[in-house]
């Protein structure tokens, strides 16, 4: 068992930078998931750790040893490949034994002598691993006679048999069907707990990452975006990429500009969403997240273009029949929060255990302050559902430019027992301000608005 450290590692193929100055410390015994879209460089990073690729720059350590110039077979790592990489002409037994043939390894007893294993020792180890993974009855078969799930286990067995310091797994579940994937996910986590070996696990599947990882490293365009435990990266995404990549459906994001007139808020279209100070965001600095670029967060000042983010499950909705005849105050009372945005239901996807409601927004919350024109607080901006939303968003604001001309939609998740609105209904959305995320439009970096506000207040 060992830690794995990438120190400012870069991989270039000619002009193309596959991995860009990546620094990452994987702790001993940790299950670290490298997560990102295809082509982001996560597999290249893994292959550099394995020694299948050279690092162009930077240092790679396994434990305390710098391994940049160490042959793959001497790095004491095992790899599980996406397509399993089983030798098709060898039996399962010989496949599992293959890492034991040429590699030297620690021998049981004898104070951990390092040498090649004898035939009986190999057989013993293969049998042990086969028992661990329930492969005893398949040892004489060829890979072609196995199901996909069985092949996957053989690949795992081959990785385990060498008792490496680190397991490297390159999308090992991507060729399994959905049901088997969930099952195998659990098995790998079990295995990790039993063996306690460091695992570096590459995937593009955020569900795998969130369910399996001790920590997740999010990678985009060769750069490390954020490292943290699943909950912290989900709850406090360091930037827009992380915010949108994690979660299904992706986090809703709406562009707007900061306004500080009459308290901190974001102007979206013609309306303003207020951002009351909350204690919630203090977790940003609790050390659990390592947002690389958090230092670059700019000042929150009047007119700054920003992106407001909110996850679908953090939104509540009032609308249709419920709202008719009622005031926004009544709605506010019902939800417990201030209204955020108003919009029109575009369509509803019923998924059984939940519903996803897509709302085309184009109107601010009833009673939103219009800081730009100075119209009184509390005056109702009655935008009806019959008004074309595009027109409202595109042309409704004389200041212009702070909202793209395209139609903005927001997805809202409703529980199975909540009544879904009809398409075309006007609804008002509410959210706990603690669940609102603010990002700088230009850099995509997270903006800690509450702390800023506190700082501004103390100034």
């Amino acid at each position: 068992m060992a830690s794995v450290t990438l120190d400012d590692v870069t991989k270039r193929y000619g002009e193309v930078v596959a991995v860009d100055h990546m620094s990452l410390a994987v702790e001993d015994g940790e299950l670290m998931v490298l997560l990102g879209p295809s082509g982001c460089g996560k597999t290249t990073a893994l292959r550099m750790i394995a020694g299948l690729e050279d690092a162009t720059e930077g240092t790679i350590r396994i434990g305390d040893r710098v391994v940049n110039d160490v042959e793959p077979r001497h790095r004491d790592v095992s790899m599980v490949f996406q397509n399993y990489a089983l030798y098709p002409h060898l039996t399962v037994e010989k496949n599992i034994a293959s890492p034991l043939l040429a590699r030297e390894m620690h021998v049981d007893g004898e104070d951990g002598a390092v040498r090649k294993l004898s035939r009986t020792e190999r057989k013993e180890r293969v049998n042990d691993v086969a028992r661990l993974l329930g492969l005893e009855s398949l040892l004489a078969r060829k890979p072609s006679a196995l199901s996909g799930g069985q092949r996957q286990r053989v690949a795992l067995a081959r990785a385990i048999v060498a008792r490496p310091k680190v397991f490297l797994m390159d999308e090992p579940l991507s060729n399994l069907d959905a049901k088997l994937r969930v099952q195998t996910r659990g098995e790998i986590v079990d295995l990790h707990q039993r063996l306690g070996t460091t695992i570096i696990y590459v995937t593009h599947d955020q569900v795998e990452a969130l369910t399996m990882a001790n920590r997740i490293a999010l990678i985009e365009a060769g750069r490390l975006q954020q490292v943290g435990d699943p909950q912290s990266v989900y709850d406090r995404p360091a930037n827009l990429f992380v915010a949108r990549f994690l979660g299904t459906p992706p986090m809703n994001t709406v562009e707007g500009t900061i306004t500080t007139t009459g308290g901190l808020g974001v102007r979206i279209g013609g309306v303003t969403v207020s951002l009351p100070p909350t204690p919630g965001d203090s977790r940003t600095n609790d050390g659990k997240t390592e947002a690389r670029a958090s230092a670059s967060v700019g000042r929150i000042e009047q007119g700054r273009p920003v992106v407001l983010g909110i996850r679908s499950e953090h939104l509540q909705m009032l609308g249709g029949a419920m709202q008719e005849g009622g005031s926004s105050e009544a709605a506010q009372v019902a939800s417990g929060f201030e209204p955020l945005l108003t919009g029109t239901v575009a369509h509803v996807e019923w998924l059984g255990h939940e519903s996803l409601v897509t709302v085309a927004i184009g109107s601010g919350p009833p009673g939103a302050r219009d800081g730009g024109t100075g119209s009184g607080a509390g005056s109702s901006v009655a935008i009806t559902s019959s008004m074309p939303t595009d027109a409202v968003i595109g042309t409704g604001d004389s200041e212009g430019g702070d909202v793209p001309g395209s139609r903005t939609t927001i997805e809202v998740r409703l529980g199975a027992d909540e009544q879904s609105p009809r398409a075309g209904a006007t609804v008002t959305l509410f959210a706990d301000p603690r669940h609102l995320h603010l990002f700088d439009l230009a850099s995509g970096q997270r903006l800690a608005w509450d702390t800023h506000l506190q700082a501004a207040a103390s100034r």
């Binding site: 020694g51 299948l52 042959e71 077979r73 095992s78 490949f81 030798y87 293959s98 043939l101």
Partner: protein, 286 residues
């Protein structure tokens, strides 16, 4: 009324059977055309020439004499030339397969300077068949005193660009992941070649082996040029030489031709799949 559909089905049925019969008839006719020359060779080998001509050359054997094969083998020199052909063919086939595997391995898995140039030079030899290089190659053999020897017979055919190319393609089809896995497993080149690359490319290597054998066994112009002594004639040369004998002994020539073809008949029956695959990929001279 209900009889109408029934009879209609019957008509269809009859038509289909007639069509099937028609195909069999055509196939049989074609088979007869193809086999007729071979059949006549057998007839003429088995028939005693004088009696056969006396009967007016019928389409069936006359006065069958099985001793003709023995005569071809011994007096006709086919036995001796079969020996020469067997050794030469095995040397050429084995040599080509081994050198092609090695060269293909270098092209498929190794990086080395001038790789492209070397590859082009390999492929370029496809443009230099033995017919083109015959005269200087015979001179080389004369200079080396390799005329009438196995080195002389097989020398130019110990490497094959076609084989290198085909096996190279086979090696390239090995998934990259297996290379990675072998690398992590600590396999060296020797182990990777013998344990992974060759076993996984068995089909293509087998195909090439079969067509290399075919080409080597059937060689004519080169052994004709370098085997100036009867003792070093290959069986093809021997058969051709026998055919020049008098009509009264022509049965011996045909018997010799049959014997010379037997290894290829075995090849055709036992390795038809490999043969077909090899010929469709490479099309060597048959």
């Amino acid at each position: 009324m209900s009889a109408v559909p029934a009879s209609r089905t019957q008509v269809h049925h009859v038509a289909r059977r007639a069509r099937t019969a028609g195909w069999y008839l055509l196939l049989t006719a074609l088979a007869v055309i193809i086999l007729f020359p071979i059949y006549m060779m057998v007839v003429r080998a088995l028939s005693t020439p004088v009696t056969y001509f006396g009967r007016g050359s019928p389409l069936y054997p006359v006065d069958v004499e099985w001793g003709v094969f023995r005569a071809a083998w011994d007096e006709g020199g086919i036995g001796r030339s079969m020996g020469v052909s067997t050794v030469a063919t095995l040397l050429m086939t084995g040599g080509q397969v081994v050198t092609a595997i090695l060269a293909a391995y270098a092209f498929a898995f190794l990086r080395f300077p001038l790789r492209r140039l070397v590859f082009v030079l390999f492929i370029g030899t496809l443009m230099l068949p033995i017919e083109v290089t015959l005269i200087p190659n015979v001179q080389t053999m004369r200079d080396l005193h390799w005329l009438n020897s196995f080195p002389g017979l097989v020398g130019p055919f110990l490497a094959s660009a076609l084989g290198t190319f085909l096996i190279h393609q086979g090696f390239r089809a090995i998934p990259t992941e297996l290379l990675d896995a072998a690398s992590l497993d600590g396999y060296g080149h020797m182990r990777f070649l013998t344990r992974v690359a060759v076993p996984l490319s068995k089909p293509v290597i087998a195909s090439f082996t079969v067509i290399a054998f075919l080409g080597a066994w059937n060689q004519f112009i080169w052994p004709e040029a370098v085997s100036t002594e009867t003792h070093w004639q290959t069986v093809q040369i021997g058969v051709a030489a026998l055919s020049a004998t008098t009509p009264d002994h022509s049965n011996i020539a045909f018997a010799g031709a049959i014997v010379a073809s037997l290894p290829l008949v075995v090849l055709l029956v036992a390795f038809q799949r490999q043969l077909v695959r090899g010929l469709t990929a490479g099309a060597v001279k048959g």
